[in-house]
């Protein structure tokens, strides 16, 4: 599985308008809806599912990255988007530091193995210092799409 198979390019938000965690999550779900990846009628429901999951344990795994996610009926294959914030978002992260890169992932409840594959793909890149650094520096959707393509080529 490649990052470009999962990330919906048109839904990437290079500069998040919101600063609060819940609003950022809703903004990213709305962006997925705008890109046609999820139904516009489902934005509230999806946001709620992600926030419910987030309440169980933070997905702010440290080093400025968070991976809010949910398993949802109707999602056929894993889909994700990326939002960047230059101000930093409070995700109650494990290292208590602000989050600058949010990767929001939706997957099917009927295919847990595929969800794990998507996580593997995401973290293979996110664990690299250079990937996180470039992601934080990217100022446009195109720059992030290029970064994802390059990351996929490196493997």
């Amino acid at each position: 599985m490649k990052l470009s198979d999962i990330i919906i390019g048109d839904a990437i938000v290079p500069s998040l308008a919101n600063k609060a965690r819940d609003a950022v999550i809703e903004e990213l779900v709305e962006s997925l809806a705008e890109a046609g990846a999820v139904s516009k009628q489902k934005v509230k429901e999806i946001t709620k599912a992600i926030l419910t999951r987030e309440a169980q344990a933070t997905t702010g795994i440290g080093k400025g990255v968070a991976l809010p996610h949910a398993k949802l009926k109707g999602v056929k294959k894993p889909i994700a988007t990326i939002g960047c914030s230059s101000d930093g978002i409070d995700f109650a992260s494990l290292d208590q530091k602000p989050v600058y890169s949010v990767i929001l992932l939706l997957s099917s409840p009927d295919n847990p193995d595929e969800h794990l594959q998507a996580m593997e793909t995401i973290f293979k890149h996110v664990q690299r210092d250079i990937f996180r650094k470039f992601l934080r520096q990217s100022e446009s959707r195109e720059a992030i799409i290029d970064l994802i393509k390059e990351a996929d080529e490196v493997g």
Partner: protein
């Protein structure tokens, strides 16, 4: 007491302190984010070096970003390798967590 710590330091032997255990993932959703966090949280309670492997992929059990990479599905057998003075309670605690399905179905 000083003499006790010297005595235990004298017993330190890497072969004795290295422990290896295989444990199967039994919960339906596998090693997803929450179980991965529990795993790393428990690994970090111990001083010994701990690695966890899914096949040929071997990662630091104390790093959440690394453990998230394991993609260990239901039925996968993980290998836990701990090296250090407290390796015995460490592998025991981690084995228990995985074998009990992280408290999930």
């Amino acid at each position: 007491m000083a003499w006790t710590s010297r005595a235990s330091a004298g017993r330190r032997d890497s072969e004795l302190a290295t422990l290896q255990r295989e444990v199967k993932i039994v919960n339906k959703y596998g090693l997803h984010a929450r179980p991965a966090m529990q795993f790393v949280e428990i690994a970090n309670r111990f001083n010994c070096k701990i690695e966890v492997a899914n096949g040929s992929l071997v990662v630091d059990a104390k790093s959440i970003m690394s453990v998230m990479r394991l993609a260990a599905t239901n039925g996968t057998v993980l290998k836990i390798v701990a090296d250090g003075e407290d390796s015995a309670p460490a592998v025991e605690a981690l084995e228990k967590l995985v074998a009990e399905g992280f408290g999930e179905e």
